[in-house]
C-alpha cells in the first residue's frame, strides 16, 4: 500500500505553514521549493553550537502514513547520508534515531527493530509524540544546537 503523492503533498503543504513559522522563530533556513514543484521534500539548515551548518532533507514520500526520511545532505545536495554530513550526537550508522525518521526503523534497514513504522507518532517513554513537521524541526534544532563538531 502506498500513499499517492498528491496526499503527501497536501499534508506537507498544510503542515509547512507551522513548520516555516517555527523555523523563522528559531532563525533556521527552510527551503520548500521542491514542494512547490510537486515533490514532497524540503530542506532545513541547522547550526550547531560552533555555528557549523548542517542541511537536513525531509523526504516526505508516503507521509503522513509513514514518517519522513530524514537525512543530512551536502549544501549542494549532491552528497547524502555520509558521516561527515552529520553533526556529532547521532547514531553512528549514521542515522537520526527518532521515531519520526523512517531510516531509523529496522524494517527499513535502521537500528530500531523494536519500533513499528505505523506507530511512528507514538511517544518514546513517557514523553510526547513528535508527530508534526514543526516538532521534528524543533527536536533536530535543539539536539544539534547542543552538539559540537561533525561525526567524521
Amino acid at each position: 500500500m502506498s500513499v499517492p503523492v498528491e496526499v503527501s503533498l497536501a499534508a506537507v503543504r498544510a503542515e509547512l505553514v507551522a513548520a516555516a513559522d517555527y523555523a523563522a522563530a528559531a532563525g533556521l533556513q527552510i527551503d520548500a521549493d521542491p514542494v512547490a514543484g510537486d515533490e514532497p521534500r524540503f530542506y532545513v539548515t541547522l547550526v550547531n553550537r560552533d555555528s557549523e551548518q548542517f542541511c537536513a532533507e525531509f523526504n516526505c514520500a508516503e507521509y503522513p502514513m509513514f514518517p519522513p526520511n530524514v537525512e543530512f545532505v551536502s549544501p549542494d545536495r549532491s552528497e547524502k547520508g555520509t558521516a561527515r554530513l552529520y553533526p556529532q550526537g547521532f547514531h553512528t550508522t549514521p542515522c537520526v534515531c527518532m521515531r519520526y525518521n523512517r531510516k531509523a526503523y529496522g524494517e527499513r534497514g535502521g537500528p530500531h527493530s523494536d519500533w513499528r513504522l505505523l506507530d511512528w507518532r507514538l511517544p518514546t517513554g513517557n514523553g510526547v509524540g513528535i508527530d508534526s513537521l514543526a516538532l521534528m524541526i524543533s527536536d533536530l534544532h535543539s539536539k544539534i544546537l547542543q552538539s559540537s563538531g561533525r561525526m567524521a
Binding site: A18, A25, G125, N126, G127, V128, H141, S142
Partner: protein
C-alpha cells in the same frame, strides 16, 4: 542536604507526565522554555501535588518570565481552596538543567520549602527525575539537591492487578 522542616513532595506519574506535556506545549511554535506550577495539600512531613497550573508566562529560547499580573491570576484561581503552592517545574532547551541566576531570583514564590525542578529538552522526552535538576529553597536561597528521593518522589497513579491485563 536534608532540612528537618523540608517536606517530601509527592507527585503521581500521571501528573509528572502531564507536567512534561505542558512544558513541551510552550515549544510547539518556537523554541521556548515553559513553566508549570504545582499546587497541592500539605501535612507536617509531606506535600502532595494534586493540581497543575500553567501561568500566562512570557517565554522564549533561554528565558522565562511571569508578570505580577500573571501570577496574581494564578493566585486568584486557588483562592478559597485548600491548595497551597508547592513548587514549579520549568524546561530548558537542551541537556543543561542548572538553575540560572534568573531562575534563582525570579522564580514565582521563593520561600523556604518550595521545590523547583528543571526539565531538559523542553520536557519533550518526559519527566525523569534522574535527568532533571532538582532545587529546594532552603535558608533563603535555592540549592541544588543530590539526595533527590528525600525531597521528591513519583508515585503510581493507577495500578491494575487483575490477571492477564
Amino acid at each position: 542536604m536534608r532540612n528537618q522542616c523540608v517536606k517530601v513532595v509527592y507527585l503521581t506519574d500521571e501528573l509528572a507526565r502531564k507536567t512534561a506535556e505542558m512544558l513541551n506545549s510552550f515549544a510547539m511554535a518556537r523554541p521556548a522554555e515553559g513553566v508549570v506550577y504545582w499546587f497541592g495539600i500539605e501535612s507536617a512531613t509531606s506535600a502532595v501535588v494534586t493540581s497543575l497550573m500553567v501561568p500566562d508566562a512570557e517565554t522564549g529560547a533561554g528565558y522565562l518570565r511571569t508578570s505580577v499580573q500573571a501570577n496574581a491570576e494564578v493566585v486568584s484561581r486557588i483562592a478559597g481552596t485548600r491548595l497551597v503552592y508547592i513548587g514549579q517545574a520549568h524546561s530548558h532547551p537542551g541537556v543543561n538543567v542548572e538553575h540560572s541566576e534568573t531562575d534563582d531570583v525570579d522564580t514565582f514564590a521563593c520561600f523556604d520549602g518550595v521545590i523547583s525542578v528543571v526539565v531538559p529538552w523542553f520536557g519533550r522526552y518526559g519527566f525523569h527525575l534522574n535527568d532533571c535538576g532538582v532545587y529546594r529553597h532552603v535558608g533563603g536561597q535555592f540549592r541544588q539537591i543530590r539526595n533527590v528521593d528525600q525531597h521528591i518522589q513519583i508515585l503510581p497513579s493507577f495500578t491494575d492487578l487483575r490477571d492477564g491485563r
